[in-house]
Each structure stands twice: as structure tokens, then as C-alpha cells.
């Protein structure tokens, strides 16, 4: 009763709904990251009650993580880094006239993942925060390698081409300022390249612009009949996507509490594991509901569990958590162990607000889906033009730079060439996303050990993660060898 009373006696419910709606809008716009969406809202919360302000910011994060999947499914443009893994099967379902079903699975899985993450946050904040403290540079390096090990299984069409794409992605991640010495690398004296190439540029270019270029030379794909309504999964689908949701939620929990892990890594790992454990492996990449459920559950779990180290230790595990930390400080609150003692009302209010935010995500998501599906069902020339306008506007918004628009265009051409040559795109995205994490932590670990590589074996967490990566790689190579073995003639 006390909980319900505090819900209705404050502005928590409207704040959660408003935050989620704002977050979905920001997340759905390519180039506007969840952290930017939250940062834009931060000044507006200044005059609010601290609990209401924190709830609004956290709800924005929840909404943004979900919002990124909407353009990923409908127009092959991930709104956030974490939505990149949803592109593959989400857009394939859209092409089959099943956009409403894909969006329903995404929304439902996001809801399940969000509640799972909230439960973990409420019940396990303290023990989980110890995981964050156990992460050393060598463990981060191992985590990055574990993420990269997914490349082998994402390259089912051609292992060599997938690996080539992955290495190219790693190469792209080296552009900019060196993470240890500060030396400029591959910048050609251009100040625009000093901060590197943001992964979202690569994704928008490869997926959205690449798709536009491919469709320009092809007959219209928009003739597929489409019901402009969201379709939530029924009992049979619940059963089918329960395991991928569980996989995504567990991976999202672990990734969320690790500073630097983030939604993108968890989405890819969840996608890979969902395929490994699926009874319908052959459907992955061609419109598998499980291929949407796992990454969506993972990145929405991360939206809650990323708050674990921030609340209990004062360590922001992502850019979005850092903005939320800014919100706490703005209102005179100091996250850390004492927060639970000194401001229990804020903590309880935040937990309540996150619960409301997950419900709000379903309601707001349901309301906006119909218009979204209707929009992408417009005649192809208009749809292409508006996607192009959205992409150039969103990409410019990252750093107010026309150079970024040119880079995204260049990656669009690269994406088109890669498709034409049968090279998978996801391994390149993974390389770009994880390249910095891998290199910076590999070198920091070696600085700590004085150049001794045994540090990666001596650190137990790193050793376990590297062993897992090795198992994944060997398993994928073995499966690939079996699948490509010439079959004996009957």
C-alpha cells in the first residue's frame, strides 16, 4: 500500500511515461545515442524533485534502449549500437511482411529483459557490484576477445570473408588518437579523425545507406503486403522465445554490471548464444523470432543492471550511466554505498520508477508502432527519400559535422560493395565496436605486467573468459568444417 501511495502521491508515474516517450524518440533517431537523449533532458530536470528527476532520466535510458530497435527492424538502421544485432532478423521479418510481429517480439522481449534486469538490480545490487570491482584491464581485454569470438559463428556464408570483415572493423577502430600514448594514427592530419570513427557511423552507413543503394538497383521490396499493426506473441511464441529471452537476460545482467561492457556486446553475445541453443538454427539471419528476442532482452536488461555499479559504487558503467550520475550530482545526491543509507527514498523511488518505466515502454511502444509501420509502408521513392533525410540529419547530430555525413556515405558504398561480394556486415560492426576495448586494455594490462603476457592467464577472470572464447572459436570452426564438408554421393 505504501508503495502504491508513493507512486500516486508523487510525479513518478508521469515522469516515467514522459522519460520513456522521450527515450524512444531519441533512441529511434540514428545518431542520437541514449546518453545524448538523457543529456538533452538533464537541464530540464533541474527544478524537479530529486526522485522524480532521477526516475525521468532512468526511464529515458529504458526507452532509448528499446527505441533503437524500431528503425533497426523497419528501415535496417540501428538507432543505437545495441540494436545492431536486431537488424539481421528484424529486417528480414519486415521484408517478409512480418514487421508487426517483429516489433511485438522486440517490445515483449524488451519488457521481459527490463523486468529481469530490475529484479537483479533490486535483489543483487551489492553482490553484483563486486563483479565490477573484479574487472581488471586484462579481464576487459578477455571480455573483448570473447565478444570477437562471435565473428566465427556470424560468418556462416564464408568463414574467411567474415574474418576479413572483422579484421577490417578492428583496423577502422585504430583510426584516431592512440589510447595509451596519445599519438595520432591514420588521421592524415585531419582533425575530424582525431577522435576516431564512431561505431554508429559505420552501422548507419553499412546497414541503412548500404540498403538504400542495394534497393536502388533492385525492384521494389515494398510490395510485400503489410498489416499496419503491432502483433504481440501468442503462447506458442512465448514458449519459443522463452529460452532466448533467458539467455539474453542473463548475459545482459553480467554485461550490464561490467563497466565498459554495454548493450552492444551483450546483444551480439546473446544473439550468438540464442542461435547455438536454438532448435531452428537455420532460420537465423532469415527472420528468426529468437534472433530478435535474445538481443532485445539483453540490451533492455543492461538498461537496468548498468545502474548496479553506479548506485552501489558510484562507478558509471556506460555513457548513459555517466549522465545519470550527473543527474544524481546535480540534485546533491552522491551515489555509492551510503546512498542506500542516507537517501533510501530516492533509491526506492528509482526502483518503482523503473518498474513503471517498463510498463510505460509497452504502452507507449504499442501506441506508436501502428503509425511507424504505416510510415514505412509508404511508396518506395518517398520512403527512401525520408530515410535518407533521417540518416543525414541524425549522423550530423553526433558532432555537428558534415564530415561525419561524408564518412557515413563512404561506409554506405563499402556496405554495398561488401554485400555484392557476399561479405557479412556484422563481423565488421563487431570489430569496430570492440576494437578500442580490446587494444586499450591489452596494452594497459601489459604496462601493468611489464610486458609479460602471463598476466592474462594469472588473472582468473581473464583466464575463464579467454577459455570461453577459445571454446566458442573451436566450436564454430568445427561446425563450419562439418557444414562445408563435401557430402558423399548417394
Amino acid at each position: 500500500m505504501l508503495i502504491l501511495e508513493s507512486l500516486w502521491s508523487t510525479w513518478i508515474v508521469p515522469a516515467a511515461f514522459g522519460g520513456v516517450a522521450w527515450g524512444i524518440l531519441g533512441g529511434a533517431l540514428p545518431g542520437i545515442s541514449p546518453s545524448i537523449t538523457m543529456a538533452l533532458l538533464l537541464p530540464l530536470t533541474y527544478g524537479m524533485d530529486p526522485t522524480v528527476a532521477i526516475v525521468m532520466l532512468a526511464s529515458t535510458y529504458v526507452g532509448a534502449e528499446y527505441g533503437g530497435s524500431i528503425p533497426a527492424i523497419l528501415i535496417r538502421t540501428p538507432g543505437t549500437n545495441a540494436a545492431a544485432a536486431t537488424v539481421v532478423d528484424g529486417y528480414a521479418m519486415k521484408q517478409q511482411g512480418r514487421a508487426g510481429e517483429a516489433l511485438g517480439i522486440s517490445l515483449y522481449s524488451g519488457f521481459v529483459g527490463g523486468l529481469f534486469g530490475l529484479a537483479m538490480l533490486v535483489l543483487l545490487a551489492e553482490p553484483l557490484s563486486n563483479v565490477a570491482l573484479a574487472f581488471t584491464p586484462q579481464a576487459y581485454f578477455a571480455l573483448g576477445v570473447l565478444g570477437l569470438s562471435v565473428i566465427a559463428s556470424l560468418s556462416r556464408e564464408s568463414l574467411i570473408k567474415g574474418l576479413i570483415a572483422g579484421v577490417l572493423g578492428l583496423m577502422i577502430s585504430t583510426i584516431g588518437t592512440d589510447p595509451v600514448t596519445g599519438t595520432s594514427r591514420f588521421t592524415f592530419d585531419s582533425p575530424d579523425l582525431l577522435s576516431g570513427i564512431p561505431p554508429i557511423l559505420v552501422m548507419v552507413g553499412l546497414f541503412a545507406i548500404g540498403e538504400m543503394l542495394a534497393q536502388t538497383g533492385e525492384p521494389s521490396l515494398q510490395d510485400v503486403p503489410e498489416r499496419p499493426r503491432i502483433r504481440f506473441p501468442g503462447p506458442a511464441m512465448w514458449r519459443r522465445i522463452a529460452l532466448p529471452q533467458l539467455i539474453g537476460s542473463v548475459i545482459g545482467t553480467m554485461e550490464g554490471v561490467m563497466p565498459g561492457g554495454g548493450g552492444a556486446v551483450s546483444s551480439f553475445l546473446a544473439y550468438n548464444e540464442a542461435r547455438r541453443w536454438s532448435r531452428h538454427k537455420e532460420e537465423f539471419g532469415k527472420g528468426s523470432p529468437e534472433g530478435i528476442a535474445a538481443p532485445e532482452a539483453a540490451n533492455n536488461t543492461v538498461a537496468c543492471t548498468a545502474l548496479v555499479p553506479m548506485l552501489s559504487l558510484g562507478i558509471p558503467s556506460s555513457n548513459s550511466a555517466a549522465v545519470l550520475l550527473g543527474g544524481f550530482l546535480l540534485h546533491g545526491l552522491l551515489p555509492g554505498p551510503m546512498l542506500f543509507v542516507q537517501n533510501p527514498d530516492v533509491v526506492d523511488g528509482l526502483f518503482l520508477g523503473l518498474f513503471v518505466a517498463n510498463i510505460a515502454m509497452v504502452i507507449v511502444g504499442y501506441l506508436i508502432m501502428g503509425p511507424c509501420i504505416w510510415l514505412v509502408s509508404r511508396p518506395k521513392p518517398y520512403l527512401m527519400a525520408f530515410i535518407y533525410a533521417l540518416v543525414v540529419s541524425g549522423v550530423f547530430a553526433i558532432e555537428a559535422s558534415e564530415f561525419h555525413v561524408a564518412v557515413a556515405l563512404a561506409f554506405g558504398v563499402l556496405g554495398y560493395v561488401m554485400r555484392s561480394a557476399g561479405v557479412p556486415l556484422l563481423p565488421m560492426v563487431l570489430g569496430v565496436v570492440l576494437g578500442f576495448l580490446v587494444e586499450s586494455n591489452y596494452r594497459r594490462a601489459l604496462v601493468l605486467s611489464g610486458g609479460d603476457h602471463m598476466i592474462f592467464i594469472q588473472d582468473r577472470l581473464a583466464a575463464v573468459l579467454l577459455s570461453l572464447a577459445l571454446i566458442f572459436i573451436v566450436g564454430s570452426l568445427y561446425r563450419h568444417a562439418i557444414e562445408t564438408r563435401p557430402k558423399p554421393r548417394a
Binding site: 556464408e157 579484421v167 577490417l168 538497383g217 521513392p381 533525410a389 604496462v447
Partner: protein
């Protein structure tokens, strides 16, 4: 096979160029055991080796690249139709390039309206009063979303100086 051979050749050239560029990265007084050139060189070696493997596989027409000769089942691997259809996408890129060039002068709204109208026309939507209205409405919609609501400044162009 020819496609894989060309791809292997292109990525081998990238590996060599990348290696040469990484060799030009200046040494730093703060350099660690690996240095800023360390991992780039490793990536160049790996890409070179993979490129040679792809070339070898394409020449043999078997081995790890054998599946490449089959019809790709992945929707990402759609092969464009031959002939002029392959060149048509370049027009879309050209529209984007023109947008980048003119937006500092014409400003966001006018340039974006031009981009929408040109893309609609290029994609077969024709050129009519309707296209113009849709383009202008679309540009205003995006301006409202990005500039008015989100507060992200896009180039205003020459217009403010005229008034």
C-alpha cells in the same frame, strides 16, 4: 570465383597499404611494450594472410571458400543485377555528396528539401507539385524534430545574414 579473387586482391592491397601507413606512425616517448604501431601491424598481417587464403580458395574453387560459389542465402549477400543497375546506386551517393556541399550555404531546411525531392525523383517518384510539397513538409518536420525539439543546431546557411 572471379568475385572472390577480386575481393582477395583488394583486401590484400588494403593490408599492404595499412601496414605501410602503420610503419609511418611516429614513435612516442610514452610508448609501451606494444606501441601504437603494434596491433595495427598484427591486423595487417592477419588481413594479408586471410586475403591470400581467399585468393587461394578462389583459385582452387574448394576449401573454406567453397560455399561462396553457391547462391547466397543470407539477405545481406544480395548480388545486384548486372549492367547499368550497378551504376544506379552511385546517383544516390551523388545526391548525398551534393547535400554535403550545399548545406553550409543553403542551410538545413532548403538543402534537406532538395535532398528529399531529388531522392524521390531518382527513385522513380517523378517530379510534381506533390513531391515539392512533401519535400518541404519533410524538411520542416525534420527541422522541428532535430532543431526545435532536440535543440541540435544544423547549418542555417546564408539566410540569417539576409534579414
Amino acid at each position: 570465383m572471379n568475385r572472390d579473387l577480386a575481393l582477395g586482391g583488394a583486401t590484400l592491397a588494403i593490408a599492404i597499404a595499412y601496414y605501410l601507413l602503420s610503419a609511418q606512425i611516429p614513435e612516442s616517448q610514452l610508448a609501451d611494450a606494444v606501441g601504437p604501431q603494434g596491433l595495427p601491424r598484427v591486423y595487417a598481417y592477419i588481413l594479408g594472410a586471410l586475403s591470400l587464403a581467399l585468393i587461394g580458395s578462389a583459385i582452387r574453387g574448394s576449401g573454406l571458400g567453397a560455399r561462396d560459389s553457391k547462391e547466397p542465402s543470407n539477405p545481406e549477400s544480395r548480388v545486384p543485377s548486372p549492367g547499368l543497375k550497378i551504376l544506379r546506386p552511385l546517383g544516390v551517393v551523388a545526391i548525398g555528396v551534393i547535400y554535403i556541399v550545399v548545406v553550409p550555404w543553403l542551410g538545413y531546411i532548403v538543402s534537406l528539401a532538395g535532398l528529399i525531392a531529388a531522392t524521390t525523383y531518382y527513385q522513380g517518384g517523378g517530379f510534381s507539385r506533390r513531391v515539392v510539397i512533401v519535400a518541404l513538409s519533410g524538411a520542416l518536420l525534420f527541422w522541428g524534430l532535430f532543431v526545435a525539439i532536440l535543440g541540435i543546431q544544423h547549418p542555417a546557411g546564408i539566410w540569417p545574414s539576409l534579414f
